[in-house]
Symmetry: C2
Subunit: 558 residues, 2 copies
Amino acid sequence: MSFTRLDKSRKIRADRGAELTTANWQIEAAKRMLMNNLDDEVAEHPQALVVYGGIGRAARSWEAFDKIVEVLERLKPTETLLVQSGKPVGVFPTHEDAPRVLIANSNLVPEWANWEHFNELDKKGLMMYGQMTAGSWIYIGSQGIVQGTYETFVSVARQHFDGNTKGRWILTGGLGGMGGAQPLAATMAGYSMLAVDVDETRIDFRLRTRYVDHKATSLDEALKLIDTARAEGRAISVGLLGNAADVYAELVERNITPDVVTDQTSAHDPLHGYLPQGWTLEQYLERQESDPTGTVAAAKQSMAVQVRAMLTLQERGAATLDYGNNIRQMAKDVGVDHAFDFPGFVPAYIRPLFCQGIGPFRWVALSGDPEDIYKTDAKVKELIPDDPHLHNWLDMARERISFQGLPARICWIGLKDRARIARAFNEMVKSGELKAPIVIGRDHLDSGSVASPNRETESMLDGSDAVSDWPLLNALLNTAGGATWVSLHHGGGVGMGYSQHSGVVIVADGTDAADQRLSRVLWNDPGTGVMRHADAGYDIAKDCAREQGLDLPMLEGK
Amino acid sequence: MSFTRLDKSRKIRADRGAELTTANWQIEAAKRMLMNNLDDEVAEHPQALVVYGGIGRAARSWEAFDKIVEVLERLKPTETLLVQSGKPVGVFPTHEDAPRVLIANSNLVPEWANWEHFNELDKKGLMMYGQMTAGSWIYIGSQGIVQGTYETFVSVARQHFDGNTKGRWILTGGLGGMGGAQPLAATMAGYSMLAVDVDETRIDFRLRTRYVDHKATSLDEALKLIDTARAEGRAISVGLLGNAADVYAELVERNITPDVVTDQTSAHDPLHGYLPQGWTLEQYLERQESDPTGTVAAAKQSMAVQVRAMLTLQERGAATLDYGNNIRQMAKDVGVDHAFDFPGFVPAYIRPLFCQGIGPFRWVALSGDPEDIYKTDAKVKELIPDDPHLHNWLDMARERISFQGLPARICWIGLKDRARIARAFNEMVKSGELKAPIVIGRDHLDSGSVASPNRETESMLDGSDAVSDWPLLNALLNTAGGATWVSLHHGGGVGMGYSQHSGVVIVADGTDAADQRLSRVLWNDPGTGVMRHADAGYDIAKDCAREQGLDLPMLEGK
Ligand SMILES: NC(=O)c1ccc[n+]([C@@H]2O[C@H](COP(=O)([O-])OP(=O)(O)OC[C@H]3O[C@@H](n4cnc5c(N)ncnc54)[C@H](O)[C@@H]3O)[C@@H](O)[C@H]2O)c1
Ligand SMILES: NC(=O)c1ccc[n+]([C@@H]2O[C@H](COP(=O)([O-])OP(=O)(O)OC[C@H]3O[C@@H](n4cnc5c(N)ncnc54)[C@H](O)[C@@H]3O)[C@@H](O)[C@H]2O)c1
């Protein structure tokens, strides 16, 4: 069996429109979303099957990709395909209310759950890194993270600047698949941003999709652009070509302190995700192969430089936060004992939302028609009439976010709203108001779907950060409820050994059966998030559970 | 919320008969099986909720136990209860073909997946150790392991003694919940056995249930009993009160070499499962609390003594095997570099069975009537007429195994037979031939349900020992297929950090819906085992897949 990771002849684009090439819309959706993850407009390195987040892949090899598509085209509505780290391994009889695809990616028995062992297996063709939405086929381009980043930056402003971002600026690193959302989110929230990336093609990609406003090749040039804008009361973003470790250290040296400091290089993967200081991209690629151990060591040393600079900038008054790439852990590994002195973004800014099951809910129009998304935007406003912040988000998103691949929308809503909104979309499909079914999903970075002690579950009230029963229950329950595909991953976001998480996707095809499934799955899925936080003792979650009538047997007062 | 681990007033016994106390037989089965796991006849320390295998529990606390029972009594046939490390945390809407209970026990994010962190959380009341069948409510007493142990000993004889066990004897340690099956399995296979245990109450328990023939309090006495029996061509078993490390070292000293050497103390849990040399049971219990670190260190030192003795006995010609308690790893941790020189029992003796999906299939008569089991015994013989080894097993089991709690039977069968047999049982329930429904399940130690590189997946052909995508897919698929309850555990058998595994239980209640579910789930479940072994390159598994028509998309020649 040959094993092809890179095929330069490939150009993948999902079908559009209302014509089926498979037995039904559940299966069609899986096929289109897999393909959409590898669309040139969507993926970071589509011909290498890499969607985003370091080496986050959609399929293990091109042979595996072809076979998945082939199986989906013959799959029956009462069968389920099993995908093991991006490879289709079995087809089994289930029933119509069961998921059509079940996925497990990158999972390793804990004692062996590290990058060394993973990379060995990956090299042998036995595994694939699924990241979060790459291997679970619900990545929607940088938009997928824009709102989360925007909500975080708004929350930073509320906590540190009385809500006023005028003249404020943010320093960050990384303009990759997720990181590329930062400049847009920053300017949407009213900040200017300086974003450093070593790879000029990444900056150009963000310019092209209007996520970043300017490119600069020297720090002076970048600072000048930003200072001018700030003086004029405008918010702009600048992508600076350079190494984040160099630039952060240089700012410390020059005694220039941004208002907010964070980072979104792929620090979670020291072998593939972080360019050591002084290396060229070519050297990096070459030495990954010829000297992986040395490469990892060099990357971690540079991360240590960057984290030390971040700590100094924090001391000098910058609101400093880890933005979910595990850079603190990497620096700590090589002796930066105080690396965890600045907080992760979840406990600092996002947890109150998670307590209500609020997280990165998203949907995709299988028709391929942007109008379908605009109609759903309007429907959300109609059904949630009293939330100006959300309306503002939807307006800005429509205005400023270019679609990548199939048109999609992200919208942070919670237990109270998810099933309601989804069922309304299903009605719109049924009535013909939309041209084709809608796919509904979320990030694995969500309220009930992840255990990640350096990120989503950092500093839980009861100390249960590392308990991963929760995401496993989430995946089992979504399977039981009748989601269209369900995934269980390890190592997303923060890398091997540091997280376990699950994904869910469900199709609104306009049928009554879908209506039933949507009302179960999109109640249960955020419900497990409220449950997990209520169990940990958060009052917001307990109140939400009581208000929404969630059945939590051991909640006090029940 | 109070948290009670030990309640000496408790005496649990499941209901018998055909009367329901819950909404249907699926839910009734969960309730009875939970209770049966804590029956005095079944569990090792029922009042502490400990079923077997060190601190393997059925529920997190007595409060959690009571609440689980209460929820099951009100659960609707379209609802699903979530259990997180032995605590009932949520009730969610699903549908009739979905599991009624979903369980996740002892799961930790890999970087934190060790006994130290687990014990901390366990102490805080945030977790529970589920072992394999303890927290997943399908433990059936020592019988559950008798056949596996018997098959292993028979296989040892085939490989080392031309199948002739006459006059041969086995040395082992541990007469606990699982280990207690060893003497019976040994004599069934024609060996004599010397089994060392430090706890006299455990030896007495095995005498009472006829698993062991004699008790001895000195090595001389024990050896004399065995030598006499061997001289007379009889096979007997002796439980020797003593510390395994002392006794193994003493045998080396005296230059006495058994034919087979193994061990089944709870070495996987150095804090609770292995008494250090020179300590009394009371000291052990006291120092677990007052000095956990010192206790673990002392236990590992004694294990090192025992493993060194095992290595010497191996050199002197004994067939030596690790019987799945991770004692080699523990010894290696404290410097016994060659600990892994003797093999684990799975690669050495059991894997060919796993390749065909053959493993510890089991069932329980909810009526409580032994006659129901005898009738199923007869049905198995009728449906598998051409397997004298299996018939012999069933005859011996009926004759020599005392039921513990609800009557149950274990029988190692595979992909070819499981669904067929289960559907026949369902017919017998339907026709009234049996007095009540039958519960069908298996150990987590099975063909497709576990990743455990020091045990079930040791030395896989392709090096995929540590890949745990497989048991996760198994659990998701069993949930999708409509099992009655499904569980995902970590750390069973070999302890924290070393394994991930899943359980499945399904009820044959005589309905057509059950017939459908049984034909799916009991095909799929062993099917994932054949799939996993075929994917790893085992010819026996590939042949089995082809013969049985398993749909494995990337199997060559497909
Ligand atoms: N906070 C969140 O919500 C969230 C969500 C998803 C992912 N993440 C994490 O964010 C990180 C980035 O994700 P992504 O999808 O953008 O990854 P990516 O691999 O697509 O992009 C990483 C970018 O960092 C750049 N880079 C590497 N080393 C650099 C250096 N020394 N200096 C400057 N730039 C450098 C690369 O050129 C690349 O453009 C990952 O660790 C990911 O796991 C966070
Ligand atoms: N091979 C298999 O199929 C299989 C299946 C299940 C469990 N296991 C493993 O086997 C082990 C035993 O399981 P169990 O359910 O019998 O456990 P258990 O905790 O019920 O029994 C362990 C026994 O070992 C005795 N013991 C402890 N230290 C001793 C010492 N130093 N010398 C002599 N005896 C000592 C204890 O008194 C106790 O009776 C566990 O590690 C378990 O994980 C193996």
